[in-house]
């Protein structure tokens, strides 16, 4: 039987961490941009676009990410579209993240007193100017903590992409366990690596919050 050293395990997990990071970045960037577009549609569009966004948010908040991954992978396959696990995971995570971010940010915008909008209205600011210069900066400050909190969830949520055959950190851990029969060591390493990804982000968020408070 082949002997595996701790370094063998760690090295292989580190290679897999790359894909967790890339997948998370896709979810952050894609979800952030789509979420921002959804937020703008909800705030600035008419009734119909507001309801459409609300429906979208309900749909993705009300179904498990696991199902969304399955549907993106196998569902599109049934329609004759050949999707790789990469595309399926990227699309599912982007849509999922965008729905949650749109809702989190809408809450932050709602928390800004109505008088701020009215004062900006009275000064003849356009919708875009109100959002960019008056409401946005104030909403941003309160959005940092819940946004980062959710992004940390997304990093851990990428583990679900393993079910459609995407080899990221969790999937790699399972594969290495099957080869080494050292589940405790392997999964402990996996957990530590997730922590090493998430903890600095949380710490950075606290710093950012403090800085935004001081800037004001």
């Amino acid at each position: 039987m082949v002997e595996f050293t701790l370094w063998d395990i760690v090295r292989n997990l580190l290679l897999a961490v790359r894909w967790t990071v890339v997948l998370s970045l896709i979810a952050f960037v894609g979800g952030g941009l789509v979420g921002l577009a959804l937020l703008t549609a909800r705030l600035g569009g008419g009734r119909a676009s507001g309801q459409a966004v609300a429906g979208y948010v309900q749909l993705f908040q009300g179904t498990p990410l696991l199902m969304q991954l399955f549907l993106a992978y196998f569902g599109l396959g049934l329609l004759g579209v050949d999707v790789s696990p990469w595309v399926a995971a990227g699309v599912a995570l982007t849509l999922y993240t965008s729905a949650f971010l749109a809702e989190i940010w809408r809450g932050c915008v709602d928390a800004i007193p109505k008088g701020q909008w009215e004062a900006a209205d009275s000064l003849a600011l356009s919708f875009g100017e109100k959002l960019r210069h008056v409401v946005g900066p104030q909403a941003l400050r309160i959005a940092v903590a819940p946004t980062v909190g959710f992004l940390v969830q997304v990093i851990k949520g990428t583990a679900l992409a393993s079910v459609i055959g995407f080899v990221e950190l969790t999937k790699a851990g399972t594969m290495i366990t099957n080869a080494t029969f050292m589940p405790f060591t392997v999964y402990a390493c996996v957990a530590l690596m997730y922590f090493a990804l998430c903890w600095p982000i949380s710490a950075w968020s606290k710093r950012l919050e403090r800085r935004l408070r001081r800037a004001h």
Partner: protein, 267 residues
């Protein structure tokens, strides 16, 4: 700048002649204005013409529709019937460009100040001119400093809104509204949120504006101030203009039982 009276412009015998005096045309022209919140009609047909340079005090019980009327004039409230023009600019809801044009003619000061807390005092005043009037930063800063000096806050340019007292914040709000060089200034109970000892400093600034010929419409509970500063007092009751006239007449010889009751309840 003169604009032609629109199709629904001031009708009747006295349309503006091309070479007539600007002061003859009302700067604010409200006619047949009705406003409903659901089934509750809060303004039941308001007709009001305000001349350039006139100071109007709007008084009345809470719920009489006086704040709503004021908020209709710059489009913060949508009304269902009637027409409204400011400086020849008709109010058209849903037309973002027309709203933006109209709002450049109308300044508003709120009960709760509504300064932008994330911007310094100077930037609060500079924001709208730089964005809406595309004024350069330098010119906007010169103007902001001059306006802050005018409201007695020259040294607060770099301060943050939350470092100021209520009276100071309200004076910044006045400077911010003035920066857009409006033709009309709306004041919505601007001293109601202030501690009594801070009311005077704000009223002094408003009185200064009136003396300089600014057209003012103010909803107020400061009856002494209304009597002293205004040219005309509008008493609103149950969604209508119930009584209107010069302050001596309204305060000295109220005609309707509602106004008599309203005035006696104040003492």
């Amino acid at each position: 700048m003169r604009t032609e009276p629109g199709p629904q412009g001031p009708c009747g015998a006295e349309t503006r002649a091309g070479n007539g005096q600007a002061s003859s045309a009302p700067i604010v022209d409200v006619s047949g204005l009705r406003k409903r919140f659901g089934s509750n009609e809060v303004l039941k047909g308001i007709d009001l013409q305000v001349r350039r340079g006139e100071v109007i005090a709007v008084i009345g019980r809470s719920g009489s529709g006086k704040s709503t009327l004021l908020r209709c004039i710059n489009g913060l409230e949508v009304f269902q019937e009637g027409t409204l023009q400011v400086d020849g600019q008709p109010l058209r809801h849903g037309d973002a460009k027309a709203m933006r044009a109209l709002r450049q003619h109308v300044g508003m000061i709120f009960q709760s100040f509504n300064l932008f807390p994330h911007l310094s005092v100077g930037r609060n005043v500079m924001l709208a001119p730089t964005l809406v009037k595309a004024r350069g930063r330098g010119a906007a800063e010169v103007q902001a400093r001059a306006l802050l000096a005018r409201v007695g806050l020259a040294e607060k340019f770099e301060a943050w809104p939350d470092q100021l007292s209520g009276g100071q914040q309200q004076r910044v709000a006045i400077a911010r509204a003035l920066a857009m060089e409006p033709s009309v200034m709306l004041c919505d109970e601007i001293t109601s949120a202030l501690d009594p000892e801070l009311v005077g400093e704000v009223l002094k600034v408003v009185e200064g504006l009136a003396d300089e010929g600014m057209t003012l419409m103010m909803v107020t509970h400061e009856m002494n101030f209304a009597r002293k500063v205004s040219d005309r007092v509008v008493f609103m009751h149950a969604g209508r203009i119930h009584e209107m006239g010069p302050p001596e007449q309204l305060f000295g010889a109220p005609q309707t039982p509602e106004l008599k009751q309203f005035l006696s309840a104040l003492h």
